[in-house]
Subunit: 127 residues, 2 copies
């Protein structure tokens, strides 16, 4: 049996993927993978997700250059999730130009943006 | 508008929640919350999830004592996820008695258990 068969794919044949910067420990993104995305991620050692909105494989960084080099792949006990530890090219994982997608923090009943934009998205996606 | 209304609840009125140890940076669990679970989590400053299998609120640690004290709550840009930074009571988040639920690592095409059991689950859930 392949290691891919041991992944608890959900009803949509997807699994949630938490991606963490291996050096800083920051949680960068939560995204989704199907079987092919996970297989390609492991083979290429670069994160490939399944875009639920575009319904296609999405090689992280294909437009932005912000590729995620995969150092480690982990599976959890039962909650149906994969954890990737990566080296984040450019130090930017979020399409808003921030290091992490989790840049809003709950403070006194409000979601407050607490992390800076490191690069203007207009410059990241300028092609 | 309440901060709860700004959360992008999915079709099942749930959101995925990544929980990270605030001190070590380890990703401990991925679980789910509904609106009430998130509200209680913020009010009590202790993690309360929605158990999809048991279909009820699940105060983390209610049986095991392994409560998660919530230090920070973050929301991501668009992937529909919440990040909690917590202090993990007992240093054990997983029902298998391990620190993290992500104790299996992909090595040469196999999921290998790489993290130790810190406490026998039979002792954790002995009541």
């Amino acid at each position: 049996m392949s290691w891919l068969d041991e992944v608890p794919w959900n009803g949509h044949d997807l699994i949630a993927v938490v991606t963490q910067d291996a050096a800083s420990g920051k949680v960068l993104t939560v995204a989704w993978m199907n079987r092919e995305a996970l297989q390609q991620t492991v083979e290429k050692k670069e994160a490939v997700y399944w875009s639920r909105s575009r319904k296609k494989l999405w090689r992280k960084g294909e437009e932005s250059g912000h590729v995620q080099k995969v150092l480690e792949v982990r599976l959890d006990c039962d909650a149906d999730a994969v954890l990737l530890k990566v080296e984040q090219a450019g130090g930017i994982a979020c399409h808003t130009g921030r290091e992490s997608c989790f840049f809003r923090k709950l403070e006194n009943g409000k979601w407050v943006t607490v992390d800076p934009v490191l690069k203007d998205p207009a410059l990241i996606y300028k092609r």
